[in-house]
Symmetry: D2
Subunit: 303 residues, 4 copies
């Protein structure tokens, strides 16, 4: 049944494509066609189903924070919580006020500041981690053509004064151990990762299966770590809009300003939807609507 | 297996009883013995299991906000969202700053201000709603001895200047339609509700079963409404500590300063744990620890 | 020369009368004719000059905070600083957020919360202080017809939920020693004080003369205390707009939502101007403009 | 009489030298001997009087913001108010939260962000303005040995991540027109200006004389502009501590984290005091105490 719902989604969400606005603060992203829509679902027993532009690569942006968090948990374990909180936020992903209020500690790993702290830890662990993280993603997806898009990274570096402000601010509190410029370069590199809905839904399947990739039988993270990563997706995945996201969708998920949203249905599915026009919180309007249709018509909510 | 874990919990949490502090801002609550601990689990197929002081009544305090929210959904439906948000909070349950920032709109139904808005709506719907809400709880539990504790309500009314400030503040924004004093009287009355772990775990069972009480086969709220109430418990149930609560427990839950915590395991259980000493966020220290033991040793997390 | 400038002011400020809005949150104030304008200047050698509606009584509202502060300094001295700060504010006079941020301590004596703390101290000192403060003002002005306007006080009490919230909030921090209702009754009584421009300019003359009333030769407060009261007027007298007020006028002054502004020209004059329509900060638009004309054409600024 | 008071000050403030802490966030400043104290007074009729280390040069730091403000008023006039406010602040000079709250507009010209906006305007007006500002100061003082201390500027540039964050943040709001690095280089250059108490007190004498330097008879800024600059000193000169500063001193003044405080006594004196140990607001402890002694024993307050 889910297949027929998925197949109808591109048609059903069409009216919503006009309600959002493609991110324009990163010049390289602002040129994306606003009428794109794709969705891909991968089941824990290895089936896939998709429709629309599900094979077109897009800039994953903040969705990469899920990979860097998982990679950091594998590399440095619970030490990641020394310099980043597990606190809700009521401000935007790129807000700097909450960092000042907490004297340098980003509220959680999915704010931009929190993700930079994770990047900094990974840099301290391995100067070449961006390449190794890419290899990790190649293994997760079986697709070794996935790559960073350096034109996007460059574009963001030139105009990313707000992220530069956040990195300098963290450095002023001695939270970052590495050079500000190195952290920013790695951060923008990660955000430029280019993947399709099918890639993302495949890559994150282990989060729907207690940390074990069901197809390769590789234990990516432990069952407890997996529960915790999903908790972080649920509580912080769409920043200050997480309350409303869970109210509407009932699932852990992570949005990116490239228009992607990846959600996890524990024990069942990994889903990624993509449509570039965003709402005021940086979440894809049609993507969110598609997830709402899907959860209303099926029994996917875990609540 | 869960039975044997439950049975061992009173012993296992004993060391944690000393780490919290019994609420002292309501005089009538400050006299509770700090070494109490009880837990009760009710399954959707009607079995129960409990240990410790699971039959002793305690002041449910903010846990009543779950009942008043459900009652309001039944009475006034989606109109409840006109005057209360679904937004995360980074401040304490009795903070007034977030209300001023949002020009009178409480962030969510579980902050004190949000609960007062719900009370106000219920008062407008039915002047006598506190009595009818009690009858509703009698039906949910099959226990008609459950009652408000007027000595607690009186005690809180005399010293509840902070809640009085919140009510006056909401009134200044014309958010409350009824008399401030009437709203406060009803609010303090609700909070004084006295129930045991077994009562609470029984009463909230419908939230583990898509809104249908499995034992009476009465549909309390719709399946979609049930998902949404659970979403609200998950995101806002322990206020600014919700991020960490879900990280540790992985379940929707609601705390009260009387020391109770009620959690829902969708499709499986309704659980209530009670122990009076609280952490800085107003959550029972030993109660939270017990839930952590329970979820670590079983597979209760939904994530 | 100042006389001719003063005489021309009613004509010059006429175009500005339309730019403000008469306070409407106190019903009894909202009925005032919006085209009123008066000004009175009293010199330290006893001359007076005035024009417009300078003899018409109006509700002094927050200007009374100058009298209650001076009265408190006389009654309890430096102890007033134990429960009220000398801190700038960036929020409105009736904001509650700054009180929560400072855990109950109002930022300065001219915020509503700060003025309530002063009222509370005066109540503790003398249950009957409102009457004695009135007698004090009778002596300062030589006009024993000055009185509180109980219809205004009643009107504000009925609708003053925001001030009630502030008082309850201060009480929750144990900052107020007296009953909340007593403090509010006294506070609203004070704010209802009805005086004319001539009354106010005469009454505050001692602040232009190092604390000594030059006409009665009575030392109201010491020279040092006088400097400090003027400092408080300069820094906090128009709340968050004080920075711009001093930029434009260069003098210590206090506004009230009744439309009055009293300013002190140390060693020279006491000036009160009145016009009901207010700007967004609760300052009389035409009154502020009149003071700007006056200070531009004379050499009254002390800077 | 003032001469004898001045002469006794180094002895009188000695006990206060230990109560502060020399700024340590700029490495080059942290090595200053903490027992330095100097004061210099210049009268509008050209007399000077001084004691202690009044001829020793120190890093003026934020006091330079007075010169850059005056220079900007001369160069670009009232346009400076397009991108910087005249609002009080309740946060530290290097806080970033108030900038986010105002969507990029610094609260006033004396916060670090506000001073950077002034620097940016000056850079747009004249790429070489730092050199020309120095020439301006040479003329004001008649001392052409005054110079920037490039070792201090370098030291601050290497460690000034917080100021870099502020500049990047302003740039993200398009408030800065020039390259972030150019603005920071010029800003740190200005702050490194090295002057003695005698230099500073001489240089700012025009502010005590309606904008006219009484010794060279050069009109530096107009009388109205002078009143406004003094208003800015009075309201914002010691940041969030300005309320208490004016309460204690009753004069417009500007502090710097190098330990200097310059105050203006309109129509009479320009005073600079210097002592490196600072209080929590970045104001010289002994310097503030010295000014308090001075104003208590003389009649210098303008209030």
């Amino acid at each position: 049944m889910i297949q027929s719902i998925i197949r109808e989604l591109p048609e059903k969400v069409r009216p919503y494509l006009e309600l959002g606005k493609v991110a324009d603060y990163i010049p390289a992203l602002s040129v994306i066609a606003p009428d794109k829509f794709g969705i891909a679902v991968t089941t824990v027993d290895g089936k896939t189903c998709y429709s629309g532009d599900s094979r077109e690569k897009f800039s994953v942006q903040s969705i990469v924070k899920v990979f860097s968090l998982v990679f950091a948990i594998r590399c440095v374990g619970d030490r990641i919580w020394e310099h980043v909180g597990r606190k809700l936020t009521t401000k935007a992903f790129n807000a700097i006020t909450p960092i000042e209020e907490a004297e340098g500690i980003p509220r959680n790993p999915f704010t931009n500041g929190g993700a930079m702290v994770i990047v900094d830890m990974l840099l301290s662990h391995d100067r070449n981690f961006t390449q190794n993280l890419l290899t990790f993603i190649h293994k997760l997806t079986g697709n070794s053509f996935i790559a960073y898009d350096f034109s996007v990274a460059e574009s963001e570096k030139l105009t990313g004064h707000r992220n530069a402000a956040i990195a300098q601010f963290l450095k002023s509190y001695h939270i970052l151990k590495n050079d500000v410029d190195d952290v920013l370069t790695a951060y923008f590199c990660l955000c430029s990762l280019s993947m399709s809905c099918e890639d993302l839904s495949r890559a994150l399947l282990f989060l729907a299966n207690r940390g074990l990739d069901p197809l390769t039988e590789s234990q990516i993270i432990s069952s407890q770590q997996c529960r915790r990563v999903n908790a972080i997706l649920m509580m912080f995945g769409t920043y200050e809009a997480s309350g409303d996201f869970v109210f509407r969708i009932g699932l852990p998920g992570k949005s990116g300003v490239g228009g992607g949203i990846s959600v996890i249905v524990p024990r069942k599915y990994s889903i990624t939807v993509w449509s570039p026009p965003l709402d005021e919180f940086g979440t894809s309007v049609a993507g969110l609507k598609a997830l709402e249709f899907l959860t209303e018509q099926t029994d996917l909510s875990i609540l």
